[in-house]
Symmetry: C2
């Protein structure tokens, strides 16, 4: 994968995070990529859907699984603007995502490099490759602006 492709995928996830913000939801966006093609898209929408599980990653994973007709996303990549929480990291493991790319770290709610560090737990059933940082500045700025507006 070239840096150009990485930036393109990070930008697609960021567009979805902006969509969440425009709808009054915490701005996080995610895509699932299979063989270079986007097969799942998600933005955070727990409030609109009355569904606490409607995080960007879960929405993208569910759409991608429907597209492939499988409950596994073997070989797929997930791009998300924020470090996944425990719920989403668990879903990523269940889906057998091959590579996880996240933009900004989340010391408060993240469960990949913070908190329970789920993929480092001996009981984890699948551990994706993890890459962090592409698109970090834009994703973090969007979240910061969103919460600043609401304080």
């Amino acid at each position: 994968m070239t840096l150009q492709t990485a930036r393109h995928h990070a930008a697609l996830a960021l567009d979805l995070a902006r969509k969440a913000a425009s709808l009054g939801e915490v701005p996080v966006g995610a895509i699932v990529v299979h063989k270079g093609k986007v097969i799942g898209r998600g933005h955070n929408q727990p409030r609109a859907l009355h569904d606490p599980t409607a995080h960007a990653e879960i929405m993208a994973i569910r759409e991608a699984c429907a597209a492939l007709g499988s409950d596994r996303l073997t070989g797929c990549e997930l791009w998300v603007t924020l470090e996944p929480c425990a719920m989403c990291a668990g879903a990523i493991a269940h889906a057998r995502i091959a590579r996880l790319h996240y933009a900004a770290g989340d010391p408060k709610g993240g469960a990949v490099e913070h908190g329970p560090r789920l993929f480092h737990q001996p009981t984890v059933l699948h551990k994706p490759e993890v890459y962090a940082g592409v698109g970090e500045a834009d994703a973090a700025a969007l979240l910061k602006a969103f919460f600043a507006e609401r304080r």
Copy 2:
């Protein structure tokens, strides 16, 4: 809550676990109870739905949230036949479930009393009261029989 009520709720969750088994899915069942009334039901069905997030707890939480028209289940109880995994424990925290009752412990995949012990993590955003063991023998026997048949 009387022991009779506890056993009744555990039995309802077990019925849903049996339903999962009859459909060839890992036999786990869950209900959400609000003010004594069952408002959400779920059985494990990731294979049938092509959705790795379709665990019993997630299905029950989503149905209960739809019933209440909210992404929070404040004051609700969740009854499940097996110790929740990290994904489901995370969803329980997001949903602000007040009390979690699970029947059988899961040393391999559980994330409440095993593995990451999610509700003991300093970064967890909500910690339900946790009760384990009501209905344990039946729930564990059902799982054991299911996996024995498939070996």
